[in-house]
Symmetry: C2
Subunit: 338 residues, 2 copies
DNA sequence: TTGAAAGCGCTAACAG
DNA sequence: CTGTTAGCGCTTTCAA
């Protein structure tokens, strides 16, 4: 019992493969009566056209590669959902490529998706290199790159950059307005471009509000819960102690908050904390976390749409560069300085 | 500038396509000197064989579909990682199919992956029907189904069933040993098979330890953080109040714990809580959550391995039915009853 | 030790 | 209004 092919349908309907193809794709007029016969045969046999065969001739697979660092990172779910939503609506399938923060692994995925002739790839992992984008585009595969400003990929790919500046500034402004003058930062690993960007935005915000940014306390963290706990340990050693802390992501903020109990700290009264990301959890913990949010779902949708545009446009399309803003979300992890 | 094909390589090397194919696949002996010429041509042109064309003839795509409910559900990351690990090791790619708890959407994905001729599919979503498995297998696509005992798919698919009985029993035993006699349960939506299984296991455990299981308090939750909060509201209305609560998943346990502050409850002294899942977070919150754990990463690996076996075996292979155990993990969200 | 040719399932000129 | 034919890029008999 083999796969049912277009030929089987043609035979059963008593027409040529061509006609079957045309009624299925509505690509030329077919006598209503013939059309019905074909449709009936299709129905009867449960025929489904082979995407493989189609792709071989059309040079299109209706498939994209999604390169992310870590499915477990709470940053991704919303983004993926956005990507998926527009992919699904346009009948695109998604190859999941989880780099697990590993360049070798990313590279292997790049090769696989080139071999599989995807129509495009979404680079959403920090574990990537310029060469990967080059490799991919060399094989006429389109790309859009998320928040990876370290490199200049002008005409190679569309890009989405997240503007942390505005949200971070709002956050610091809020802290200043409620009386804080001594604000520390827990950064991500500073070899990461995105960690530097956030730290620099933080420093600039301090400067803007007339605080001592040159001697600002910056503790390097790991972007995970554990990093937040360790950061608090550092903070507690300081004398005087900062009255507020801004962390490079929510996970560290949460770790810090949860660790505060061990020091008999009463949050937010004894220490105000602001995160960044606005992951799902943040609004649900006690106290709900004030944070710098970005429209993750929108970012996902936008990325996929941009990729679609590149694909539709073929080589003629020029690459877009868009920037998306962040915004401070006030919840209850910050309190006025008494 | 078109795709580089095997023909280009053949021309450059001055041999036939056949020979190129054979050296690349090591499928028959080729004179060392010729072999080198071919390899050199491949290198020079940056040639990569088209998986599409290969699949068309081999009837294998080295691709599987991964059907899950919700990327954001903390149950999945570890499982996915496991799946991916063995997939990657065997050069399989993964189509991400996120049903979003939506049957229609699941169905659409089923059709897509049938069209794309995946070699197998991993059903890991509760949003699925027996028909989907039938549909898939009818198209000679192999399947393994995770924890979905509601139906009898004997010879259609391999299955992995999670044995909640043992872990839940351990959990209740622990609570009983530290003095609890009045233990409530927060279940999942009881129309879900898996929610019933857990509740029943809970009830049987009560019975086993001589507690009043017939009048046991079971509050129906939504498996989300919010559900935990609401459940605590219900619990607080009870008089007398249960001294311990077992929730059907960790998310609800956490919601309950975080909500406890609003009632000035001191955890775990005033209320012991035990979750189920052992999601990453659970060990990292304060107090760390005692919970019923399952080897999620192992489950992912196992599922993919079982699928691989089905694929390799072709139709001859018989379907495996495996069961994986759960185990109670003692942390600090439970306390002896004074 | 290597090639020629057929064919995987489909689409798209080109004919009629 | 419909069919014949070539070909997408590869693998695999069969033959030499």
């Amino acid at each position: 019992m083999n796969r049912i092919t277009i030929k089987d349908v043609a035979n059963l309907a008593g027409v040529s493969k061509t006609t079957v193809s045309h009624v299925l794709n509505q690509t030329r007029f077919v006598q209503e009566e013939t059309r019905q016969r074909v449709l009936k045969a299709v129905e009867e046999l449960g025929y489904r056209p082979s995407s493989i065969a189609r792709s071989l001739v059309s040079k299109r697979t209706k498939t994209i590669g999604l390169l992310i660092s870590d499915v477990g990172n709470p940053f991704y779910p919303d983004v993926i959902l956005g990507v998926e939503e527009v992919a699904l609506a346009n009948d695109y399938s998604i190859f999941l490529c989880n780099t697990n923060y590993d360049l070798q692994r990313a590279l292997k995925y790049i090769h696989t998706i080139i071999d599989k002739s995807v129509d495009g790839v979404l680079f959403m992992s920090s574990s990537m290199t310029l060469e990967m984008v080059e490799e991919v585009t060399k094989h006429q595969i389109h790309a859009v790159v998320l928040d990876w400003g370290a490199m200049n990929l002008e005409e190679m790919a569309s890009t989405i950059t997240i503007n942390f500046e505005v949200g971070i500034q709002q956050a610091i402004q809020h802290l200043v307005e409620i009386g804080h003058r001594y604000i520390a930062h827990v950064s991500g690993p500073l070899n990461l471009w995105t960690a530097q960007v956030r730290r620099d935005a933080f420093l600039r915000a301090l400067q803007k509000f007339g605080l001592d940014w040159e001697n600002a306390v910056v503790i390097e963290g790991d972007l995970r819960i554990e990093g937040g706990r360790k950061a608090l340990d550092e903070l507690m050693k300081l004398d005087p102690r900062p009255t507020a802390v801004f962390t490079a992501n929510d996970l560290m903020a949460l770790g810090l908050i949860w660790s505060a109990r061990n020091y008999q700290l009463n949050l937010p009264a004894d220490l105000s904390v602001v995160g960044l990301d606005d992951i799902d959890l943040s609004s649900k913990v006690t106290p709900p976390l004030s944070t710098v949010a970005m429209p993750r779902n929108e970012i996902g949708k936008m990325a996929m749409k941009m990729l679609l545009e590149l694909i539709e446009a073929g080589d003629s399309g020029s690459k877009q560069k868009v920037m998306v803003d962040t915004a401070f979300v006030l919840r209850q992890s910050t309190a006025p300085l008494l």
